[in-house]
């Protein structure tokens, strides 16, 4: 344990070298997270993570002596609030950069605002539209939906499962996943036989499960981020459907596994490596960082378990810290510095940014995971 911590510390000193200089000013970072409301499972761990990491960086003396001031605002998942809070951060607080918002819908609403005011935005939301087309000041840390979909289709193809049901919730996340599934299915020779959208507040989905059963499919791919993804797993098993169930990267939260209990066994989904940090081989590039984040977070916020969503906030701060470290707290120079970041180890993967790629991750950032005995493990064919 101790050795691991030392390795982790060594890995981190690179980004925030302990500076012994006296106060060299501050860097103000605004954060827009949906700490409460329907997307609170994203925003709450993001807030906790950001606060923890900023405290750690400041405790080490900041970035070249510059202390980070973090201003967290709770958008409650509402795009309207996100807009007015972004304006506050930009105009009143005059922040150096904004991290978040937690959801794609909110991010798209403030994308233009940040671009106009030349405020760096490092979003914690997944949609590809955030960085496509590229906006000069807008970046994002999560892997993209399309890559998650590709990883799922690769497994389907390898297992020769060609007739599937696509289920999604009526949210931005569900709709985006549904679109990717429909677009990419032909490339992998997969036919979507049943394609259903359900209400995000659904209390029971046995009827949808029955429709899946009637369609006679070989596998089910479900795309949602709500409790519904546990409900769907239970209902499919309850009506006696034992076909493989795939979920999106939104399933990467152990509380959904707990909620689905035995029905969660065998669910396959693409995810960053954070959830399987403890079983990664020691020489894996992300191992040290992931283990440090996991132990720090879980010891501080017990009994809350680490989730990939909090990791997106971790990466956002890592990227900004790296930029400030190389280019100082000048927005334009820092922006250019982010585009030059290569091989930065984050929780979601290894970031390689460029002028045309403001996400910096490939589909290799995903690992296929499955649930075994109530835990996440690496999936093997």
């Amino acid at each position: 344990m101790k050795i691991k911590t030392i390795i982790a510390m060594a890995a981190l000193t690179g980004l925030a070298a302990p500076a012994f200089a006296t106060d060299a000013g501050t860097v103000k970072i605004g954060a827009l997270f949906s700490v409460t409301g329907p997307a609170s499972f994203l925003g709450a761990p993001e807030k906790r993570t950001a606060e923890m990491l900023v405290e750690q960086i400041n405790a080490r003396g900041g970035i070249h002596g510059k202390r980070i001031i973090l201003i967290v605002k709770d958008t409650g998942g509402s795009p309207e609030k996100a807009i007015s809070m972004a304006k506050q951060l930009i105009e009143e607080e005059q922040v150096f950069a904004i991290i978040g918002p937690s959801t794609s819908g909110e991010t798209m609403k403030i994308k233009g605002l940040c671009e106009e005011s030349k405020t760096l935005l490092v979003s914690c939301a997944a949609a590809e539209d955030i960085v496509k087309p590229v906006a000069r000041y807008v970046f994002k840390t999560p892997q993209t939906d399309a890559d998650a979909t590709r990883r799922i289709f690769e497994v389907l193809k390898a297992r020769k499962l060609t007739r599937i049901a696509a289920l999604s919730s009526n949210t931005g996340f569900g709709a985006a996943g549904k679109k990717q599934l429909e677009t990419l299915a032909p490339d992998y020779g997969v036919a979507i036989v049943a394609n259903e959208t359900y209400d995000k507040n659904a209390t029971d989905l046995t009827d949808v499960a029955t429709k899946v059963k009637a369609a006679g499919v070989q596998a089910v791919v479900n795309w949602s981020i709500e409790p519904a993804q546990s409900i769907v797993a239970k209902n499919l098993r309850q009506i006696g459907l034992a076909i493989p169930l795939f979920q999106s990267h939104g399933f990467g939260n152990l509380s959904y596994v707990t909620a689905a209990g035995r029905a969660a066994e065998g669910i396959i989904f693409p995810c960053g490596r954070l959830l399987v940090a403890d079983v990664l081989p020691a020489e894996h590039a992300q191992k040290a960082l992931l283990m440090k984040y996991k132990t720090d977070y879980e010891s501080r916020y017990k009994p809350d378990a680490v989730s990939t969503f909090g990791g997106h906030a971790y990466d956002a701060i890592l990227i900004l810290a790296k930029a400030v470290e190389t280019a100082g707290a000048d927005r334009d120079k820092a922006r250019d510095a982010i585009e030059r970041i290569q091989g930065l180890v984050g929780t979601a993967g290894i970031f390689n940014f460029s002028a045309t790629d403001h996400c910096g991750l490939t589909k290799d950032a995903f690992e296929m995971l499955t649930v075994k005995n109530g835990r996440f493990v690496l999936y093997a064919d």
Partner: protein, 296 residues
């Protein structure tokens, strides 16, 4: 379509219908005494389940549920004493607005007491994947618990309102508060009692629903909307009708999924509700002359 599949859709409808039904019962109790809709009913459902989940590690499940029901009943009574009783002139409109405010308050309080995470009680019998096989179709054993508890609540409430002096006093308050006060009924106490009972029924519903629908701080509102729909559909003030209407609503939704995409499920349910209410304003099982006697 095979008969097994038809039966499976029906059982799917009964599953979600039983959830709506048990939530719907709670609406009728406050309505029966005060003539108002308690918009915080969904939060009682959430509070009961959350409390039981927190108590469950320390005691057997039935004890945790019983204690959670008592605690929520106390909260219900307290809420009435603190907020509703203090209204200077308690008109129906004012009381409704207060209950809307209460629902927001309770939801935010739950967020701070617990957190944003999703929890659930264990299945009362069996587990997440066990199901009962009926003629080739499957249904979760929890559905039988929901139906059983729903039936027991309706029966007991029916007996209470019909035969006990307290229950009859509560109904008198609903019919005419001034007249009830004139014959010596402490109308304020009856209102407090109705909130306590409604909260208790809501908490019981929350515990029974939790294994199926799962519980989190703002799960009350979506449950309450469906429960309220069932209560209106059945005819407000009648617990038995609410259960029947809840099951009917579930069955309608499931039937709609056969022919149209599941995305339109709620739209179909609302459409049916609108049609029924325009034809029978007092609800499916409500009597027109009875509704006319109520004063608003």
């Amino acid at each position: 379509m095979s008969s097994e599949l038809v039966l499976q859709y029906l059982l799917a409808g009964i599953t979600s219908g039983s959830v709506y039904a048990i939530v719907a019962i709670g609406f009728n109790i406050v309505y029966s005494t005060t003539g108002i809709i308690n918009f915080a009913q969904g939060e009682f459902v959430m509070l009961g389940a959350m409390t039981a989940i927190s108590l469950q590690p320390f005691m057997p499940l039935p004890a945790a549920i019983a204690l959670a029901v008592l605690i929520t009943a106390a909260v219900g009574a307290l809420v009435e004493l603190v907020f509703i009783r203090r209204l200077r002139r308690p008109t129906v409109m004012r009381m409704i607005i207060v209950t809307i405010g209460l629902s927001i308050l309770m939801r935010e309080a739950a967020l701070h007491i617990w957190d944003e995470r999703v929890r659930s009680l264990p299945y009362f019998s069996g587990d997440e994947i066990s199901s009962v096989r009926i003629l080739g179709a499957f249904v979760s054993p929890q559905v039988f618990w929901l139906l059983g508890l729903g039936a027991a609540s309706v029966t007991l409430l029916g007996l209470f309102f019909r035969y006990s002096l307290t229950g009859r006093s509560m109904r008198a308050c609903s019919a005419n508060q001034a007249a009830a006060a004139l014959v010596g009924i402490d109308t304020r106490r009856m209102v407090t009692l109705s909130f306590a009972i409604a909260a208790a029924i809501g908490a019981l519903a929350g515990c029974a629903v939790s294994p199926i629908a799962q519980t989190y701080y703002d799960c009350g509102a979506p449950l309450a909307i469906k429960g309220f729909t069932a209560a209106v559909l059945g005819g407000l003030g009648r617990s038995g009708s609410a259960v029947a209407a809840g099951l009917l609503l579930g069955a309608l939704e499931a039937a709609s999924v056969i022919v149209v995409p599941a995305a339109y499920k709620d739209a179909v349910a609302v459409l049916v509700l609108l049609i029924i209410l325009s034809l029978r304003p007092s609800g499916l099982f409500g009597r027109h002359d009875e509704a006319r006697l109520k004063e608003y």
